[in-house]
């Protein structure tokens, strides 16, 4: 446990220290909230949504923030590889599983902080929290997204030599995961083939879970969302640990 804590501590320290990166990564989600939210608020009318379209996409934008931050935190391993720091960790008498778990928990923590910042900003933009337990549910789902996608980032980083492949992963994996997740549109009205793609996307269940927590209603039953996302998290942690164990420097 103390090793996991050590690695966690380093990740959180680095995150809190790089203020410019922290602020910079708020730009995109805030931009989307304002442009899409206010831009489409009057055009898009969703039945049963009293908080309007902007209220509808707030959980989606929070998920996006958590998703990007966590994938990035996982991929950070490549930088550690290139700047040599990974060797310092790998040559110590600790198991690779501990290192991987520390990195995962650390990445998830920073991702949840990032999500919470967007959540607080959303409150200023008119989001009304239904109740305290809803808030806790939302944070729980953020944590699951954070854990699973940091592990996903670590899995990818364990297989990549340098950052060249990063753009590829962003464009062909991460953006589609976000785009298909129902963060920006309701799942129910979709044509069948897109709908099934959406239901295959693990992030969908994160978005829906957070939506349930914050707005009090969702299109997918929150307990189903929870089970599927937990399962996905476990699979990712196992895959990430396996690939990280065989990382070469």
């Amino acid at each position: 446990m103390d090793i996991v804590y050590t690695i966690w501590l380093r990740n959180v320290k680095r995150y809190l220290r790089s203020k410019s990166r922290l602020v910079g990564s708020l730009g995109m989600p805030l931009f989307l909230l304002l442009v899409l939210g206010f831009g489409l608020n009057s055009v898009v009318v969703l039945p049963g949504m009293d908080q309007g379209y902007i209220g509808f996409i707030m959980p989606g934008i929070i998920s996006m923030s958590v998703l990007f931050t966590s994938v990035f935190a996982g991929i950070q391993i490549i930088w550690d590889k290139q700047f040599g720091f990974l060797k310092e960790t790998l040559v110590a008498p600790v198991s690779r599983l501990e290192i991987m778990l520390g990195q995962t928990v650390g990445g998830a923590t920073t991702a949840v902080i990032q999500g919470l910042i967007i959540l607080v900003l959303s409150l200023f933009l008119g989001l009304e929290l239904s109740n305290a337990s809803g808030f806790i549910i939302a944070v729980l789902f953020m944590l699951l997204i954070g854990l699973s996608f940091t592990a996903f980032g670590i899995a990818i980083a364990s297989r990549m030599e340098d950052m060249h492949g990063f753009q590829l992963i962003m464009n062909f994996v991460i953006f589609p995961i976000f785009g298909l997740s129902g963060a920006l549109f309701p799942i129910d009205g979709l044509p069948e083939w897109i709908r099934s793609l959406t239901l295959l996307d693990p992030l969908t269940y994160g978005v829906e879970g957070i939506r349930y927590g914050l707005l009090g209603s969702s299109q997918i039953d929150p307990s189903i969302s929870f089970m599927i996302l937990s399962g996905f998290t476990m699979i990712m942690v196992v895959v990430g640990s396996y690939l990280f164990r065989n990382i070469s420097i």
């Binding site: 090793i3 804590y5 050590t6 380093r10 700047f83 040599g84 720091f85 060797k87 110590a92 008498p93």
Partner: protein, 328 residues
């Protein structure tokens, strides 16, 4: 008992053999140096001994523990300063030390005390809260050495500890390394391609070339092996010179190289006139001549027919060529 034993160690990358049947033993408390040009296989050897790389074949043990079957114990026994920097630049020096101490499970009270002690030793205690980002190369190296010592290892690996540092900082680091070995009795294995570094620091030196150890002894003995003094003669008529002087009885060895001839003999000052006379009798032009006590450079030349510097140059050429190819 030995601190390190290596037997027939081999590492292949594809069909390229980077480390070729290496065998050597290092005694406890010894400072052992692997001296050789870039690409000789020094880092690869260190990587295997520190469990970072799996050997293709062969056996090795560190502090009595097998590097294949007892990795964890090996890792507890060693401290290592890698050839390339391995600090977290976004953390302070103290935080880097603290991270290390926690990884090696040193209890908090001891950890804090030891960190301060070591930061003092490497004279960084007043800069301990600066981010490593703003540290100079020499300061980083000192910090890495301090970090490698934090968990009190039995064996310390130093891979090119003074690479790229200015002469003053190098001298400073050498003093630390000597003191460490003398005062704490730590076994040190270091790699270098600097002759003077190996000469000054190491009790014994293994000269490595193309993955093989071609000679291993104290610096003193290695130099004596090539026979007293060395006369180097630069000339374009090397073959003629060679056959002219070969039969002189005082000469122990003569070797022809790319642009020069080296002669090994005792009391070179006494016999140099005779050699020059012989050359002028045969009308052989001598471009330049110098006499010196043998250095490890001469030893390397003696065993490989090349100088370490030639090796370095050709390695650089290769890199430049690769870059050109890439740019195209």
């Amino acid at each position: 008992m030995y601190a390190i034993t290596v037997k027939d160690l081999v590492k292949k990358f594809g069909d390229f053999t980077a480390v070729d049947n290496l065998s050597f033993n290092i005694k406890r408390g010894e400072v052992f140096g692997l001296l050789g040009p870039n690409g000789a296989g020094k880092t690869t050897t260190i990587s295997m001994l520190s469990t970072m790389l799996k050997p293709t074949s062969g056996k090795a043990s560190v502090n009595g523990f097998d590097i294949r079957t007892n990795q964890d114990e090996v890792r507890k026994s060693i401290g290592i300063v890698f050839q390339d920097q391995s600090l977290d630049e976004e953390l302070t020096a103290y935080e880097n030390m603290d991270f290390h101490g926690r990884l090696y499970r040193i209890p908090k009270s001891i950890r804090q005390k030891k960190i301060m002690e070591l930061m003092k030793l490497v004279e960084l205690d007043d800069k301990k809260d600066n981010l490593v980002k703003i540290y100079s190369g020499g300061m980083r190296r000192r910090l890495e050495i301090a970090r490698g010592l934090l968990h009190e290892p039995e064996v310390l690996f130093l891979d090119e500890p003074t690479l790229g540092l200015d002469p003053q900082t190098r001298n400073h680091l050498w003093d630390y390394i000597e003191a460490l070995n003398k005062e704490k009795g730590i076994t040190i294995i270091l790699t270098t391609h600097y002759m003077d570094e190996a000469d000054k620091l190491c009790h014994r030196i293994g000269i490595v070339d193309r993955g093989k150890i071609i000679a291993m002894d104290t610096a003193e003995n290695l130099k004596n092996d090539i026979g007293g003094d060395v006369i180097t003669i630069v000339s374009s008529e090397r073959e003629e010179l060679y056959s002219a002087i070969r039969s002189l009885s005082e000469i122990k060895s003569v070797e022809i190289h790319d642009s020069s001839i080296t002669i090994g003999l005792q009391n070179a000052e006494k016999h140099v006139a005779q050699i020059v006379n012989t050359a002028s009798e045969k009308a052989i032009t001598i471009e330049s001549l110098f006499i010196h006590k043998p250095t490890l450079e001469d030893v390397f030349l003696h065993f490989t027919g090349r100088t370490i510097r030639e090796e370095e140059a050709s390695a650089k050429d290769k890199m430049r060529m690769m870059r050109k190819v890439r740019r195209r």
